[in-house]
């Protein structure tokens, strides 16, 4: 067991690795009412094709990680959601392209809840009947997402940027793709990726770390399976489609602009790249950038504009999203701004300003146990130490930002995904 004190950000972290490989972290939050726990596996919707230990190559239908997330709650002695309902905890789960996480928060009965969580995530129980029943529920979830314009723009921007990588497919899959899912496949995925070696347990709030370890040890298997090897298809430096447009029930166009970046290099720090990427976003089009201010002023953008940087297994990209009467103009202006910064460089004043703002965002996220646990899980999947995150602000160099701008300065790396009104004359 290790205990680190991070004086500069006023946090402390306890950590421990079980003999089966499960990594456990505890971040105390004295005076918080609730305690939050997250058990996450480094297995997301992008992990569609993989190789088992016996050499078998498994090709799964789209949406299997998300389907598995729904079905994990089922146990022989009842549904875990119903067990949590009796303790007063608020349970939930999510599947992203990179990970699947199960979590709860509670103000009482923490150890009982932790027992439920660790048990159900490590105990697969799938029957033909309960798998069939879930299809109806997930189909409705997919339909709800189908009607969500933002979700469409988001899914399509990945479909446009990538040629083969499975991140180009919607996280939940489609009614057709999930129709073929059977219990056997779910068991295979569980064996491949729910090994304790591939799991991270993070607790934030008020608890006794030794008791957390004890419960985790009791409920996770003694022997850990090896993690399956994954395949993400052939890489392509450029986007597959530069534009994808769909028509939906929207009053004005909304867009998602993606810039395809190079995946993380060998031995490169994920958190450093993330910080570099986010600072670049701020410089291009943050709330205090000239570009955003000009586009807002002339009515091209409103307050619902956002820029973010995302790392995926074997992929990385920048995303700009918002509403605009003229998404193409936004896309052109962003590209011009990248070229401009790349050519003119970054002034020290500007660099200090965005760094300071970003540091404020980091401090703010420390008040949110759910964000904190997710950040901790993600950095652990990248094999990194979250505690050094705040030190990076002093180390970061403008040259590293300019290097990214150079890479992004290529029209063949940009995809514009837009959702336009049904009555629009433009083709969808």
């Amino acid at each position: 067991m290790t205990h680190e004190i991070l004086n500069n950000i006023g946090e402390e972290i306890y950590s421990h690795v079980l003999s089966n490989g499960l990594k456990i972290f505890y971040i105390p939050k004295p005076n918080f009412s609730k305690t939050f726990a997250m058990l996450a596996t480094n297995f997301g919707s992008a992990d569609q094709k993989f190789q088992m230990q016996d050499g078998a190559i498994i090709n799964t239908p789209a949406g299997v990680a998300h389907f598995l997330e729904h079905k994990m709650f089922e146990d022989e002695d009842g549904n875990a959601l119903q067990k949590f309902a009796k303790t007063g905890a608020s349970p939930n789960a999510f599947t992203s392209r990179n990970m699947t996480a199960y979590y709860f928060s509670c103000t009482d009965n923490f150890y009982e809840n932790l027992n439920i969580l660790t048990k159900f995530v490590c105990t697969p129980y799938f029957t033909t009947e309960n798998v069939k029943k879930e299809k109806g529920i997930i189909e409705q979830e997919i339909k709800m997402l189908d009607d969500d314009p933002f979700w469409n723009a988001y899914t399509n921007v990945y479909a446009g940027m990538y040629h083969e990588h499975p991140i180009r497919i919607s996280i939940a899959g489609s009614a057709e793709s999930i129709a073929t899912i059977e219990p056997d496949l779910l068991y295979t995925c569980h064996k491949a990726f729910y090994s304790p070696k591939n799991l991270v347990l993070t607790v934030c709030g008020n608890a006794d770390f030794s008791k957390i370890i004890e419960i985790a040890e009791k409920n996770t298997p003694k022997q850990a399976d090896d993690i399956a090897k994954r395949f993400y298809g052939n890489r392509n430096e450029f986007v597959s489609k530069s534009e994808i447009t769909v028509k939906m029930n929207v009053s004005q166009p909304l867009f998602m602009i993606g810039i395809k970046d190079e995946p993380l290099y060998k031995n490169e720090s994920a958190s450093y790249r993330q910080l570099v990427g986010e600072l670049c976003c701020e410089l291009i089009s943050g709330k205090s950038s000239e570009l955003y201010s000009n586009l807002y002023k002339n009515g091209t953008l409103n307050r619902r504009f956002d820029a973010s940087y995302t790392l995926h297994p074997d992929a990385a990209c920048v995303l700009f999203s918002g509403d605009s009467k003229n998404p193409k103009l936004v896309c052109d202006e962003i590209f011009k701004e990248i070229c401009k910064i790349s050519e003119n460089g970054i002034s020290p004043d500007e660099f200090e300003r965005v760094k300071r703002m970003h540091y404020g965002m980091l401090i703010r996220s420390l008040d949110q146990p759910d964000d904190l646990c997710r950040m901790k899980c993600e950095s652990t999947f990248y094999g990194e130490n979250f505690s050094t995150i705040s030190e990076q602000y002093d180390k970061i160099k403008t040259d590293d930002l300019l290097y990214r701008f150079k890479i992004w300065q290529d029209k063949n790396k940009i995809t514009l995904s837009q959702v336009i009104p049904l009555d629009s004359k433009q083709e969808g």
Partner: protein
């Protein structure tokens, strides 16, 4: 529970401070209360126009850059409906000074005061350019409401349910009202509000009450405000429920049902109503979750919630068109079953644990606390989380069954997925 401090800074100006040393970020809000009505568009546009520029920071860029230097402090326009009233103003958050070595809170408070009291003007009027551009943004926002089906069905159901009552009005007004806004009439509206409308100020964070009180007092020159918030006048449900179906070009149908109860936040029966709604559809152990979702696989979500100011219960769910009647029947039969007295002690105690956990959890989230306290204060309610928790604990099975008699169906709205409007 936190240490709550309240103070009257002038007539109608109320400050609520929650001291919470556990947070690294402070949350503040300053809002004015106006009655919901024909001026909604004027009220809703104001914070957006004011956030375009002040006399010291004349445009968005200079405000944003100032906020960057305050370690990414955020000031966000706030337009919130609660009961028969509308709160407009700003919500802000800023990191603690122990991570920044600067008087961040004080600077944010001064900036908030400038936004209200020293907006950028020309010949004494709000700038035409800002007013025009925010008019367009507001029109876009109103038009966009329909593009978010899940929230739109609930909004549309309430509009039908509360036809002729203020609760059903859109907080952004309508496009016609927006078009009638000019720099002249908006400037006089602002002046009128500053001079007459009640104001609520909220702070949650680690700084002591005295300091916050003094900083607000010195940044704002508060005047006595004589206007009172609008009263919530609750009408009974109609003799026959309204059934409305509309077609929207979406793939999934959505159902929203509204019930009147006549019981609202300050009633002694309100905790029993909260429990009724929780047992029905408030969490994953509820009847709607277990029956409509898990047993019948009809939907991904089906839930129920109470509005504390109007005492109405809203149920919403996303379903296939063909299942609309089946889902409605199942929901009504669960309610009928509960009204017939078939609620178990186990259901009641599970629901109690869930509500108590949710109430206790609120103290970890300053934004939730802000909305809870400010909505209450603006409606003249005095709510206490710990009193509410105590009352919840005391509710008996009989209490829930008794109040279930008052749950009366008012409106059933179904948004049918389809091709055309």
């Amino acid at each position: 529970m936190q240490n709550i401090f309240t103070s009257q800074l002038a007539d109608g100006i109320k400050l609520t401070c929650l001291q919470a040393k556990q947070f690294k970020t402070s949350v503040l809000s300053v809002t004015m209360t106006v009655p919901l009505g024909e001026n909604n568009a004027f009220a809703a546009i104001l914070p957006h126009v004011l956030l375009r520029g002040t006399q010291t920071y004349p445009n968005m860029l200079s405000i944003s850059r100032k906020l960057d230097t305050l370690y990414g402090a955020r000031i966000i326009p706030l337009v919130r409906k609660a009961g028969a009233n509308l709160a407009i103003g700003f919500i802000a958050d800023v990191i603690d000074e122990r991570f920044a070595k600067d008087n961040l809170i004080e600077q944010v408070i001064i900036l908030l005061s400038e936004l209200f009291n020293m907006p950028a003007t020309e010949n004494g009027l709000l700038l035409g350019e800002y007013v025009e551009s925010e008019k367009q943004n507001l029109i876009d926002r109103i038009s966009r409401l329909k593009s978010e089906p899940r929230s739109y069905v609930v909004r549309r159901m309430r509009e039908i349910m509360y036809e002729g009552e203020p609760f059903g009005l859109c907080e952004y007004g309508d496009i016609e009202q927006v078009n009638s806004i000019t720099p002249e009439n908006l400037t006089s509206y602002l002046k009128e509000l500053i001079n007459t409308s009640p104001m609520q100020i909220f702070y949650c964070g680690s700084i002591d009450n005295e300091t916050i009180l003094n900083q607000f007092q010195s940044a704002f020159s508060f005047k006595n405000c004589n206007k009172k918030p609008a009263e919530n006048i609750i009408l009974p449900a109609p003799a026959k429920p309204k059934y409305i179906t509309e077609v929207m070009p979406v793939s999934q149908g959505k159902l929203a049902m509204g019930f009147r109860t006549g019981i609202y936040a300050t009633d002694k029966d309100y905790p029993a109503l909260m429990l009724f709604s929780c047992i029905l559809g408030g969490y994953t152990g509820s009847r709607l979750f277990r029956h409509v979702r898990e047993k019948l696989s009809l939907c991904y979500y089906a839930s129920s919630g109470v509005d504390k100011f109007t005492g109405s219960i809203t149920i919403s769910s996303g379903i296939e068109n063909k299942n609309a009647e089946l889902a409605q029947k199942e929901i009504l039969s669960q309610i009928y079953d509960m009204k017939s007295g078939n609620i178990t002690e186990q259901e009641l105690s599970d629901a109690k644990i869930n509500i108590l956990d949710a109430l206790k959890s609120m103290s970890d989230n300053p934004l939730t606390l802000e909305s809870f306290f400010q909505s209450a204060v603006m409606n003249g309610f005095c709510l206490s989380l710990s009193d509410l928790s105590k009352q919840i604990q005391q509710v008996s099975l009989d209490d829930v069954i008794q109040i279930s008699k008052f749950v009366t169906l008012d409106t059933v709205y179904f948004m049918k997925g389809g091709e055309t409007l």
